[in-house]
Subunit: 259 residues, 2 copies
Amino acid sequence: MRLAVVQTNPIFGDVQTNIKQALLLMENEHADLYVLPELFNTGYNFIDANEVNKLSEPVHGMTYKSISAFSKKKLCYVVYGFAEKSDRLYNSAAFVGPEGLIGVYRKVHLYYRETLFFAPGNLGFPVFDLPFGKVGMMVCFDWMYPESARTLALKGAQLIAHPSNLVLPYCPDAMVTRCLENRIFAATANRVGRENRGGVDLTYIGKSEIVSPKGEILVRMDDKETGKTAVEVDLSVASNKRINEFNDLLAGRQASEYF
Amino acid sequence: MRLAVVQTNPIFGDVQTNIKQALLLMENEHADLYVLPELFNTGYNFIDANEVNKLSEPVHGMTYKSISAFSKKKLCYVVYGFAEKSDRLYNSAAFVGPEGLIGVYRKVHLYYRETLFFAPGNLGFPVFDLPFGKVGMMVCFDWMYPESARTLALKGAQLIAHPSNLVLPYCPDAMVTRCLENRIFAATANRVGRENRGGVDLTYIGKSEIVSPKGEILVRMDDKETGKTAVEVDLSVASNKRINEFNDLLAGRQASEYF
């Protein structure tokens, strides 16, 4: 399958323009699955919960309608981050395909001021069975907790679609460890640019990347430019957890010795 | 406290010489705690269980006597890897100090042909309260399983003493992730050299290192030379799990959402 990461630079609050920007990038790159950044439609640096409330959407809102139309037209799948309006507000990722909504993930590990606006995710880490393989999602700061990727791997995910808005420098290299320790693919789609709002100045590090189960960085984008990049991957190789003739990665866990 | 990693190149089976080599390196570097490689006294590449049986020692064996004498004389602590003869054979690490034996860890995640000779560790991941801080141990391939370092961090360890005999290239960079995701120090003591025995040809990668809770590589040795290197560290900083005013690393775990 052909897997793409899309690196955007959204204009805060301009949802229509941000969706257009993403669709334009995607139009120019054929892929079976596109991964877009966290909160790609709204921007990230909310000043208060009021702003989130105003810019958030239900799962089947305007952003879903635009993306799923693209998905239907191109017969492809898309994972994108958005502010979800439900019983509470969630920092979510939607998985859509030609058949419509596949599922939603709500970010479990909220970072920094997100804790002021969003409720922590309460849907666990779902894994979806697609024509090209099993895919789960995590969002940005979830990378910091090895439990996120481990949970997805134990549930059979072959690929982690990872919408992000990274500001710390550590994640791109850490994802190599996440892939190695789970023998799994990961596609981290990050944004670039800067948002200086309400006295909080954030610069996003770009470096969107796709990493293989052997920890190879198949693609890594730069730290300033928007763009998209795709690679051919065979997700089934992520089901082989054999490190050598004596070690099976997941079967080798010794749960009785853990905390 | 002053923390040292010692990078050796043992001669397979020549326990006396290997202990001497390690002590000589330690004599020339003052430290409060020295970390030596995995199986530093015997070498690593056993052909069969017979060899392990012959070269293994009870915890209080000859190797312990030599190292604890040094420890007493220098008023320092030493972590070293050895083949432990007990009810079964274990790939163990001993923690000794001026007062004698502090504790033993038995490698939980056995790698490759080790699974033919050793029983998996059955003592969990103990953490010891020393004058300079709380220290736990893991051995080599335990790095691959995030549960090892996580268990130690959850039990309060501020430093992971990590005797190793690394042959794969991934661990030195992965330890940066291990330290970041747990806000913990790690001292990985690896060996160098090559052992080609019984048709199994292993080259050890060196690169012994000390990494800080912020993922800084405080020291990293080269890949071929024996030697030792030490740094001053304040282990108490590893008790601060605050990433920022909104995020506490360990309190932020969302166990209900994990597998």
